[in-house]
Amino acid sequence: MSATDAPPRPLLAAEGITKRYGTTMALADGRLAVLPGESHALVGRNGAGKSTLVSIVTGLQTPDSGTVAFDGEPAPPTADRDAWRRKVACVYQKPTVVPGLTVAENLFLNRQPTGRGGLLSWRLLRSRATELLDAWDIRISPEAVTADLKVEDRQMVEIARALSYGTRLIVLDEPTAQLDNREIERLFARMRALQESGVTFLFISHHLQEVYEVCQTVTVLRDARWITTESVADLPYEGLVEAMAGEAAAGRAGGGPEAAARPGPVVGGPVRLAVRGLTGARDAFTNVSFTIRRGEVVGLAGSSASGKIELAETFAGLFPPAAGEAELDGAALPFGDVRAALDAGVGCVPRDRHEQGLVAGMTIADNATMSVLDRLGRFGFVGTGARRNVAGALIERLDIHAEGSEQQVGALSGGNAQKVVMARALASEPKLLVLINPTAGVDVKSKESLLSRVDSAREDGTALLVVSDELDDLRRCDRVLVLFHGRVVAEHPAGWQDRDLIASIEGVHRG
C-alpha cells in the first residue's frame, strides 16, 4: 500500500465509510479503491457489510460518514440518479429489465431514438442497439424478447445498457449465483473481453475460486470492517480464507468440552438412509451418494448456490430427482410426493418457516399436528381432544413458551415459532429427520433448546440430516459433507477447524 512514483488514480475510492441501521452497525470501516481497468473482487461472509458498501458506492444510500470519489471527483448527491448512472452501474441478481420488451428496447428504455414528429423510430432503435451490442462484441439479437434470454445474456444486456450511459465501472452483485458451470465460464469470457475493452468490474461473489479466475485485486470485509486489499496473485487461498474467517474463528476447534460430552457416532450401527448416485433436476446436484446410520447426525454445508437445499428438499419429497435412488430402512424412498415421504418416515423442518413452515393465522395445535391429523381420528375427522393432547405433549417436550396450544402461531417469537415447526416434524416420529437452517433467525436460548432436540432425536435412533449456513448447527454433526456446485467435494469428521470447513465451502481445495 506504499506510495510509488505515480500511483494510478483509483476510478472508485471509498474511505472511512460508516453506516448504521438503528442499533446495528452495518459498516464500521468500509474502504474500497478500484483501479481503472481491473476486475476487483469484494468478498466477505454473510453480514460482513458487502451489500451495504455496494449500495453506498452505487449511490443508493448515503453513508453516515466517509467519502466516495470517482476518478478523484467527489460523488454526486444521492438524489441525482443521472449523474450516478454516468459513474457506476450495478447488475443485481434481480433483473432490472422489462421481460415483455425486446432487447433493443430495454437497452434504450425511456430514451428510444425518435424520428420525425417525436415518434419512435423502430429502425433507428434496432440499428442503435445493434451498434451498441457490436461495439462491445455482445452476441445477442436485439430483436429477441428479453424474457426468453438466458440469465447470463440478460446480465450482458444490463451491462451493455450501463455502458451506453457512459460509465466504465460495473458492479456485479453475485452474478454467478444462478448460473451453472458452463454459463459461468461464458460469463467470465465475456467479462475478460469487456475488461480488455476498458471496462472496470467490481465483482461480488461467495465463491473464492471465481475470484482467482477473473479478478486481479481483492478486498476482504469482515464484521463490518475493511480487513485487507491485496493483489490476488500475492494472496494464497489460505490467506484469503483466513482474512474472511478471522484469526479467532480459525483458531477455534470444532470439538470443545461440550462436544466431547455428547455420545459419539454409533459406529457400525445399521444404515438407515442409503443414497446412491442422486442427481437433481437441472443439475442442482450431481451424483450424490452417502449413508446415514441409526442415531447418526450428518451435516450438509455449501454456499447458497451449491444445491444443498435442493438435495435436502428432495428427501422431503418436494422435488423428484433426475436420477439415482435412496433407501430408508431398506425400502425405496418415494420422491416428488410430500405425503408419501411423510408416510415413509421422513420429517422435515423446511427452509423458511414463514413461507413453508407455518400457517400464521392458525393455532399452535393446528400447526403442530397438521401432518399427522389422520392419526388423530377417523374418516378425515379430527378428534379435538386427541389433537390437544398431542399438541400439549409436544409443547412440553420442546419447551415452547406460549399461553397454550390454542395460541396463534403468528404471535410467537421466532424461536418459539421454529420450535412449533420442529414439533410438527417430530410429531410423525420420523426415521429420517431433515433440518434445513433449523436455527435461522432465532435467539440464542431457543437455538440451544432446538439443537438439544437433535441430540434426543439421535438417541431415539433417528437418522438426521442437518443443512445449515450456521457453523454452530454443523458442529453437532458426526460428520459434515460439503457440496460445491452440486458435488460432494469434502467430508469433515467432527472436530473440524472452522477455516477448513469454510475453505471447502468456498471451493478452495487445499493441497
Partner: protein, 346 residues
C-alpha cells in the same frame, strides 16, 4: 439458437451472429402472427353467421353491429390501457352511466328532473368528459398514491357511483337532452355512425402511440417491471395516474355514445358491462398481470363479442336465456383464445 449458445465464446463467427438475427426476425413474425390469432375466429363467425341467417351479412346489419359495439369498444380501450400498466379499474362501467347523466342533469331544466342549471349543450358535453377524468383521477389517487387494493377500491367505486346515479335521478330515465347528446350515434359519415368512426380513431391513436411513442412504450415498461421502468427514469406513479385519468375520460365518452345509441339515460346505463369489457380484453390478449397486449388484439376481442351478440339476437334466442348463452359463449371464447394463442392467460 442452440448452436450460437453452445459455441465457445470468442470463436462465435459472423455466421453465428447472423443466425441469431434471423431468429430475431422469426420471433418478430411469430409475435405479429399472435396478434392476428383472433382474426380467423372472427372470419369463421362471419361465415357461420352468413350461413345461418340471410340477413346477417347485409350492410345494414354489419353497421348495426359496429354501432352497437362502439360504446363497449371505448370502455375496452380504457380498461386495456389500465391493464397494460398492471392495474385494474372495475368502476368504469359506472362511469359509463354516471358521467353522461351528470352532463344531462346540468343541461336539463328542473321540469325534466334536471338540476335546473340549464347549462348550454357544449358545457354539458364538456362536463361529461371532465367528470370521467375526475372519477378516473379519484381511482388513480387511491390506488397509486395511497396504495389501496385496486380490485376492491374500484369495486367500491363501482357501487358508490351506481348508487349516486340512482340517487340523483331517483331511478328515473333522463331524456329530452339537446340533440348534441345523441349526435355521435345519430349522425353518420359514409353511412356509418360517427360513434364508430370515433371509436376507430381512438383505437388507432392509442395503438399508434403505444407502438410509436415513448409515452406508450412507458406503459408497457411500467406494467412489465415497475422497478426497471423507475430505474430507466420513467415516473411510474405519474404514468399510472395518467392512465387512470385517460381511462375515465374514454369511459365517459363511451357512455355518451351509449346515450346516443339508446336515446336516453337509464339509471342502469353501463350496468354489468364490466364483465364483457374484461372478457373482450382478455380474449384479445391483454394480460391481467400487465405489460402485455395490443390495441389491435383488444379491438378484435370487442368485434368478436359484438358479432356473437348480434348472432344471438338474429337467432331469436328467447330473451330470458340470452344472458346464460352469452355468458357461456364468452367462457368458450376464452378457452378457444387460450388454445389458439398457445399461451397462458395471466
Amino acid at each position: 439458437m442452440a448452436d450460437t449458445k453452445t459455441a465457445a465464446p470468442g470463436t462465435t463467427s459472423g455466421s453465428a451472429g447472423g443466425s441469431a438475427t434471423s431468429r430475431g426476425y422469426g420471433n418478430m413474425l411469430l409475435r405479429r402472427a399472435r396478434e392476428l390469432t383472433l382474426v380467423p375466429a372472427l372470419i369463421l363467425l362471419l361465415v357461420l353467421g352468413a350461413v345461418l341467417n340471410d340477413s346477417f351479412l347485409t350492410e345494414r346489419n354489419l353497421i348495426s353491429i359496429l354501432g352497437a359495439s362502439a360504446a363497449l369498444a371505448m370502455v375496452v380501450l380504457a380498461e386495456s390501457l389500465v391493464l397494460i400498466v398492471g392495474k385494474f379499474d372495475l368502476s368504469l362501467e359506472s362511469v359509463v352511466g354516471m358521467a353522461p347523466a351528470l352532463g344531462a342533469l346540468l343541461v336539463l331544466p328542473a321540469a325534466s328532473s334536471g338540476f335546473g342549471t340549464e347549462w348550454p349543450a357544449w358545457a354539458g358535453l364538456l362536463a361529461i368528459l371532465i367528470a370521467g377524468a375526475v372519477l378516473g383521477a379519484v381511482n388513480g389517487v387511491m390506488v397509486v398514491r395511497f396504495k389501496l387494493n385496486a380490485f376492491i377500491v374500484t369495486l367500491a367505486m363501482l357501487i358508490v357511483l351506481r348508487g349516486v346515479l340512482v340517487g340523483t335521478t331517483e331511478g328515473k330515465t333522463l331524456f329530452g337532452m339537446p340533440e348534441a347528446f345523441y349526435s355521435l350515434a345519430t349522425t353518420t359519415f359514409l353511412t356509418i355512425p360517427m360513434s364508430v368512426w370515433c371509436a376507430a380513431a381512438a383505437f388507432g391513436v392509442a395503438g399508434f402511440l403505444l407502438k410509436y411513442h415513448r409515452w406508450g412504450r412507458a406503459l408497457y415498461a411500467v406494467g412489465g417491471n415497475p422497478e426497471a421502468a423507475r430505474a430507466a427514469g420513467i415516473r411510474v406513479e405519474r404514468v399510472m395516474l395518467g392512465v387512470f385519468v385517460i381511462a375515465g375520460t374514454l369511459a365517459a365518452l363511451g357512455g355518451l355514445m351509449q346515450t346516443g345509441y339508446v336515446g336516453a339515460i337509464n339509471a342502469n346505463q353501463g350496468q354489468n358491462m364490466i364483465f364483457t369489457v374484461f372478457a373482450a380484453a382478455v380474449i384479445g390478449g391483454i394480460s391481467l398481470d400487465g405489460g402485455k397486449g395490443t390495441m389491435f388484439g383488444a379491438l378484435t376481442g370487442v368485434l368478436l363479442l359484438g358479432v356473437v351478440q348480434n348472432l344471438l339476437t338474429l337467432a331469436q334466442v328467447p330473451s330470458f336465456w340470452i344472458q346464460a348463452i352469452y355468458g357461456g359463449i364468452i367462457l368458450v371464447a376464452l378457452m378457444i383464445a387460450r388454445l389458439t394463442s398457445g399461451r397462458a392467460q395471466d
